[in-house]
């Protein structure tokens, strides 16, 4: 009975080992690919929201046009423009105040429901002239969107920082 077939032959063990290594590689790579696809989807969504919102901020005075004089509840759409690419100081200060005082509500009205948002105005040397506060400890990735604008007849950069949460 010594030449009876064995359940685990060396060949079978080697074959199973190779199979398990390949299976492990597939699981590892598929997890990596799935997490990358998830990230692409989130970034794509953040890109859409950010481009749309930054366009409105730079091109539109908002709705109503004098929203900066009204309460946050009466503001339908934020916009910072006196006219295209020309930023109103009053509107900018009002939006930054709203972001600092009523962050969640203002962020939702801007369209950044799932994401964090920080608004900054910089001069051409990179010095920050105005900024809203954002606790970036909870963000794993910050995407920066910059637009060239005129502010008080000087060329400046309006920067939107969109944070993807952990």
């Amino acid at each position: 009975m010594n030449n009876k077939g064995q359940f685990f032959s060396p060949d079978l063990l080697i074959a199973i080992s190779i199979f398990l290594v390949i299976l492990g590689f597939f699981f590892y790579s598929s997890n990596s690919v799935f997490s990358q696809i998830d990230f692409f989807e989130i970034k794509k969504d953040a890109d859409e929201v950010s481009h749309s919102t930054m366009n409105i901020l730079v091109y539109s005075p908002g709705v109503p046009f004098n929203w900066e004089e009204k309460s946050l509840a009466d503001t339908n759409l934020f916009g910072l423009a006196l006219n295209r690419n020309v930023i109103s100081q009053e509107k900018l200060v009002a939006l930054i105040t709203d972001l600092n005082n009523s962050y969640s509500q203002t962020k939702s009205k801007l369209g950044f429901g799932r994401y964090d948002f920080k608004l900054q105005l910089l001069d051409l040397n990179g010095s920050v002239l105005y900024t809203s506060y954002l606790d970036s400890n909870n963000t794993k990735l910050e995407i920066i969107y910059e637009r060239t604008v005129l502010f008080n007849e000087q060329i400046a950069v309006l920067r939107g920082v969109v944070g993807l949460e952990k």
Binding site: F40, K43, K44, H51, N55, N85, L124, E146, R147, E153
Partner: protein, 160 residues
């Protein structure tokens, strides 16, 4: 017939031809080799498709927005108009040099009567015209000096 004594079996009773078979299986047989080759090929093909996913699909729109913003701002800040009046590119050059760091810009101004030969032009410092993606936007400039003249400002943008 005593087969053991005739050399067909060893002392433990194992048949000699089973103990050292000449046609024993390889670790990688031809079939397995072909199978693994096909598998590796399929993995490479699928990975190449995954690698083609472009996360920066908004790059082109960002470039267009940046070129539009800069040309709008230079027009509204009277940079284009003053440069035309002074017949000097220096003003445009100064402003372009201070634009967004990651993007190269080149501005050219044409008279509306000759859109082939620029009368003024400025390329951002530290930029060369080497790009994989270029966008171009145009704006009409009205200069009201002694008489009204029309010019076209063409702004090109690409990533550094």
């Amino acid at each position: 017939m005593d087969l053991k004594n005739k050399g067909f079996f060893d002392e433990e009773g194992l048949q000699k031809s089973n103990r050292f078979p000449k046609n024993r299986g390889f670790i990688i047989s031809s079939d397995a080799f072909i199978g693994l080759t096909v598998l590796a090929f399929l993995i490479l093909v699928s990975l190449s498709y995954v690698a083609q996913v472009n996360i920066d699909s908004w790059n082109n729109i960002d470039l267009i927005n940046s070129a539009r913003d800069l040309s709008t701002v230079l027009e509204k800040n009277l940079v284009f108009e003053n440069a035309i009046k002074q017949q000097s590119s220096e003003l445009i050059q100064q402003n372009i040099n201070e634009s967004l760091q990651s993007i190269c810009f080149e501005a050219r101004i044409y008279s509306s009567t000759d859109l082939n030969t620029p009368i003024l032009g400025a390329l951002k410092a530290d930029c060369t015209k080497s790009f994989s993606e270029l966008v171009s936007v145009e704006r009409t400039i009205i200069v009201n000096d002694s008489n009204v003249s029309f010019y076209v400002a063409k702004m090109e943008a690409w990533y550094k």
